[in-house]
Each structure stands twice: as structure tokens, then as C-alpha cells.
């Protein structure tokens, strides 16, 4: 397995959807390739840092305003 092959397995690796044979190849490659090890670690950190932060949190005020607007429009539709 070379670095390109490794990258092509990365998504399945993270999803735990990789066959035992391929997993063995991935591990062997990682043991001998520092660059791919860093890519693996920092890609995992990329996913985790985005999952851990609410970067577009909606305020309670905005949520209530949106909610009322949605329900008003739907009720108008229903009556029409």
C-alpha cells in the first residue's frame, strides 16, 4: 500500500467499514509512513474540532421569531 492507496481508504477507515485484510495493510503502511500518520491524526482532529463547536448557533430570540413566522405561514396556507 502506498500513500495514495492509504488516502483512498481513509473515509472507510474512519467509518470502521474496512475489511480486516485492508485494515492490516493500512496499519502496516502507517507504521512505516510518518506523513500518513500525521494526515490521519490531523484529519481526525479536523472532524473532531468541527463536531465539538457550534459555529452557527441560533439565539433563542431568533429561533422564536423564525418559529412563529413558520407557523403563521403554515396556518395561512391551511386556511387558504
Amino acid at each position: 500500500m502506498n500513500c495514495t492507496d492509504f488516502l483512498s481508504q481513509l473515509t472507510d477507515y474512519f467509518d470502521g467499514q474496512i475489511s480486516p485484510e485492508l485494515l492490516e495493510e493500512v496499519r502496516t503502511h502507517l507504521a512505516g509512513c510518518h506523513h500518513c500518520e500525521v494526515v490521519l491524526n490531523t484529519t481526525r482532529q479536523t472532524i473532531e474540532v468541527y463536531r465539538g463547536q457550534e459555529i452557527y448557533e441560533i439565539s433563542d430570540d431568533l429561533r422564536e421569531r423564525l418559529h412563529s413566522a413558520i407557523m403563521t405561514k403554515c396556518l395561512e396556507k391551511k386556511r387558504a
Partner: protein
């Protein structure tokens, strides 16, 4: 190692009964569905359009459309996936309207490998959360995701921010599973590369 994929569910989803009641004219049931998903729909729209006002309009339009088309909802997919699909379509339409010089679609800019080939090989130490405070970190994450082409940003948002499965993401975007996987990989690698500028381990004496 723990898997990042969210597990699928075989049981009957509680939304099914709510949708059924809403179809029969029970507005309270529909309102409950709105409550459950309005934050998610807003986030998806904001991530794709990168514009708060657009995201507000899209959130309203998505639920109104869902309400009008409730009878067309087949129940083959989850109600939430169906909603996300409406929101994604509305969001991409907004982007198209906003950009007069450039077309915007799920296929835009995804042919190029540019930025998807790893070049930065420094570890991130300490963890980003330890270097930056919440506001700085959010600012970096926002700016970084803004730079992704819409076709990548959308896949990353659904899979990694909203935790949809690969199958649900494919369904919501009308893409094949291999296409979702390929875009997700490239989105993650591009983000990793861009974030490395902020998070890479500094050598001693090197300014942050």
C-alpha cells in the same frame, strides 16, 4: 477505534406518527416537527449559503414547502433527511441567485484535485481547543469552511457537522455513495490543510 459514522436505526422512527398526524391536518403535530428540526435546518442553510439572512429565509421556506408537500413524502427516507434535502436545494438556489457571474451546483469545482493533496505534515500539538479560546476557534473554523467550494462544503456539513450517515447524505443530495465518499475525503483533506496553518505544532522560538 471508535467509528465516526452515526449508526443506522431499524426501529420505526417517532417522526412517522407525527408526520401521519400532520397529514391529517393536526397542526400541533407539524409544529412539533418544526421545533425538532428548525435549528438543524437553519445550521445547514447557514453553512451552505454563509449568510444569516438567507439562512433565515431558507428555514422558513423549507418548512412551508414541507407543509405544502407533506402528502408527497413517501416515508422511504427519514423525515429529517427529506427536510434537509429541501433545505439544500433552497440553499443552492440562493447561491445561484446571489452569484451572477458564476453558476453554483453540487458539481461545481469538484473536478479539481487542488488542495486535496496533503502538503502539511506537522502534528497539531497542543490540541486546537488548548491554544485558542472559543470565539477565536469559532472564527477560524468559520473562515476555513467558507473557503471550501459549495459542493464540498455541503457534503462536509451534512456528514461531519449534522452527523448524517453516508447513505442519508447521498439521499439528501441526490448523489451516489462513492461520490459522497470522494467529496467528503477531499473536503476533510482541504480543511485539514487550511487548519494546519493555525494549529500546526510550532518549533521552539517560532511565533504563533
Amino acid at each position: 477505534m471508535p467509528t465516526i459514522q452515526s449508526p443506522g436505526t431499524e426501529e420505526i422512527h417517532p417522526d412517522v406518527a407525527l408526520v401521519e398526524r400532520a397529514r391529517e391536518g393536526d397542526t400541533a403535530a407539524f409544529e412539533q416537527l418544526v421545533r425538532q428540526y428548525e435549528r438543524q435546518i437553519f445550521r445547514v442553510a447557514q453553512h451552505i449559503t454563509q449568510n444569516r439572512e438567507d439562512a433565515e429565509d431558507i428555514t422558513q421556506d423549507t418548512f412551508l414547502k414541507a407543509y405544502e408537500k407533506l402528502s408527497q413524502f413517501q416515508g422511504n427516507s427519514k423525515f429529517s433527511t427529506w427536510l434537509v434535502r429541501i433545505a439544500v436545494n433552497e440553499s443552492l438556489m440562493r447561491l445561484r441567485k446571489r452569484k451572477t457571474s458564476k453558476t453554483v451546483s453540487m458539481d461545481e469545482d469538484v473536478q479539481t484535485e487542488e488542495g486535496s493533496i496533503p502538503r502539511d505534515f506537522a502534528e497539531w500539538r497542543p490540541n486546537p481547543e488548548q491554544i485558542f479560546d472559543q470565539n477565536e476557534l469559532n472564527d477560524i473554523l468559520r473562515r476555513t469552511i467558507q473557503g471550501l467550494p459549495p459542493g464540498f462544503r455541503t457534503v462536509f456539513t451534512l456528514r461531519d457537522i449534522e452527523n448524517l450517515s453516508t447513505e442519508e447524505t447521498a439521499e439528501a443530495l441526490g448523489l451516489s455513495i462513492p461520490a459522497v465518499k470522494s467529496r467528503l475525503l477531499r473536503a476533510r483533506l482541504q480543511l485539514r490543510e487550511r487548519l494546519s496553518r493555525y494549529f500546526r505544532q510550532r518549533k521552539e522560538g517560532q511565533p504563533a
